[in-house]
Amino acid sequence: MYLSVLLTYLIFLIPLVGFPFVIGIGYIKKNYSMYLGTALILISFIDAIYVFFTYTVKNVIVESSFNWLPSLQAPIPLGVYGDHLSMIMAIMVSFVGFLIILFSVGYMREDPNRHVFFGEMVLFTASMLGLVLSYSLLTLFIFWELVGLCSYLLIGFWYYKPNAASAAKKAFIVTRVGDVFFIAGIGAAILYSSGAALSVTGLTAIHATWQRTIVSLLLFGGAIGKSAQFPLHVWIPDAMEGPTTVSALIHAATMVTAGVYLVARTYTIFTPLSLSVVLYIGVFTIILSGLIGIVVNDIKRILAYSTISQIGYMFAALGLGLGATSIGLSIYQLEAHAFFKALLFLAAGSVLHSLLNVRDINKMGGLWRKMPVTITAMFIGALALSGFPYTAGFFSKDSIISASFSVSYLAWALLAVGGFLTALYSFRMFFRVALGKPRSYAAEHAHESGWIMLIPVIILAFFSLIFGIFQNGFYTFLGARTAEITSLDAVPVVLMLGAMGLAYYAYGRTSSIPEKVANGARDFYLLVKNKFFIDTFYTNVISERAVLGFSAVMDGFERRVLNGFIDLIGYFFANAGKAVRKIQTGLARQYATIVLIGLILALILLRMLMAVGVIP
């Protein structure tokens, strides 16, 4: 085995093998878990960096696979595949994962179950690293499910809170709906290519356009569930019940980006039809979640809706159908988003840590005096999120908006409006948190967090500011074509600045404008406030009517029909036994008589067989 392959395996095997030890060492001393978990991800990150600069930069694609079950007719490849896309993802996942785990060392310092927490965080990161480095769709699916499992475990980490327990279940079940599509897509890919398409390089073995459309749409269905796009986005706001660092990890590095990666990985089989589905699902999700983000009051849920809308940009970029340029735009947005969203979540975590988990932004305010570093970092995050010129979000998002102009005017307009909404809700959140007077006792007594929590925040803020300098190199690296600058690029910037001003005007100072707008457009406000009734629809119609009704029918079927049938069999044999056992009288002579009768019958049978000629 070559060194490159071994090193690529180690990127995800080190944390994957190490995570039981992280939990185990916690039984000796709980703080050891924190150090071991952080060290494992750091080693993984250094390994990824080494592989990246030794092989990937020199255009060496690390590829190794073996046949899992040689006895089967169709080969099932297992192995690693490290090309430019996978390695960039691996570096991002391990780097952001490392910073978040470092932050957790401060954030979870007093939790009695922190050894389990760190073990699960390590497993989460390891699964995501395995996912991006998978050679075959099958292993990708296995790691995909591991990621889902870890999200369930971590969202429900404070399982004694009923909200957290049900949010964990919701996340698991909703993403499972997407997983059904994913596994159906794998099945279809195997079917249409007689097994060749199971590896990520063999997807071109599917030739017919309609087959490609089916497979790509099914895979995209899986991506919708994992990446929280409409209509399966409902799990992610509830997932905010977990520890904030978990939210940061889910939103920035590990979970929601998996769907984007899947689509980028299997981009070769996406037909124009399925690409337009990807584009408009993405665009629709941006507008939908942007609107909801403006009316939500929970600081973490605002960030959750902003994640949904930023992932929408990634899918929209993929859906533009520009080949490698689309992948470049999308993955660049993914990386930039990983930095500023991790930054925003960690800053929010720092705020919540100080405010004893008061999450309502109406109860914050004036925090910039109390926590200057955190609030500065949050300001940088909000700037980067809304795409202020020369921050990370400006280069990533505005490039997508510009590129969409040549594809579809409608998509361009909606993406630009999405940028306006993004700036509006992110600065609404920022102004409510930072400016004004403290609106609660907790906010009055806020204090700055410790250095272990501030260092990751500062590193992420630094990257959110300067990430733009990598843009051209990044696109060239992924084979993307850099779009030329036109005057239209000013439109998103103007919209963004307008939204910033509007946010300050309405939320940055004492103002009755939000109430007036809400009262003026009462119906629309209620529609948005109730999240377009999508959650209500799922709960009241799908869960309670359809699923519960169906399960009641199946329950009745099982109790009545199946149980009745089984009982009937038992009843028959019990009563047959009752009838037949009467011949057991216990009288020896009666038995002898029966034996005699049997002997006579056997002799008669023998004679008959001899007469027929069977026995000579």
């Binding site: 056992r581 009467k582 057991q584 009288t585 216990g586 009288l587 020896a588 002579r589 002898a592 008589t593 005699l596």
Partner: protein, 107 residues
Amino acid sequence: MISVVAGQMNMGAVEFLSIALLSIGIYSFLASRTVVKALISVEIMINAGLVNLVAASSYYGNAEGADLTLFILVVAAAETVVAIALFVAVFRKKGSAGLDVMKLLRW
């Protein structure tokens, strides 16, 4: 070593004897009410088979059948001893050893 000349015996007569003994045994077993009589009947039935075996051994000039007979006699005697021991135990327990008394093993 018994010297046997093949073909000198009348096998038909021996088989008649054997079947007659078996029938007597079966009848007397079915008609018996006491265990001793039943045991004697069983012995008669066993011996009906053994007569057949010895005769066939002699008829076909093969001494192994005669050897086997000796073993079966011993085993049958041993069985009878065990059976009598059981019946004595039953008699002590129940004060009777009639065949119809022992019918605990029923439905």
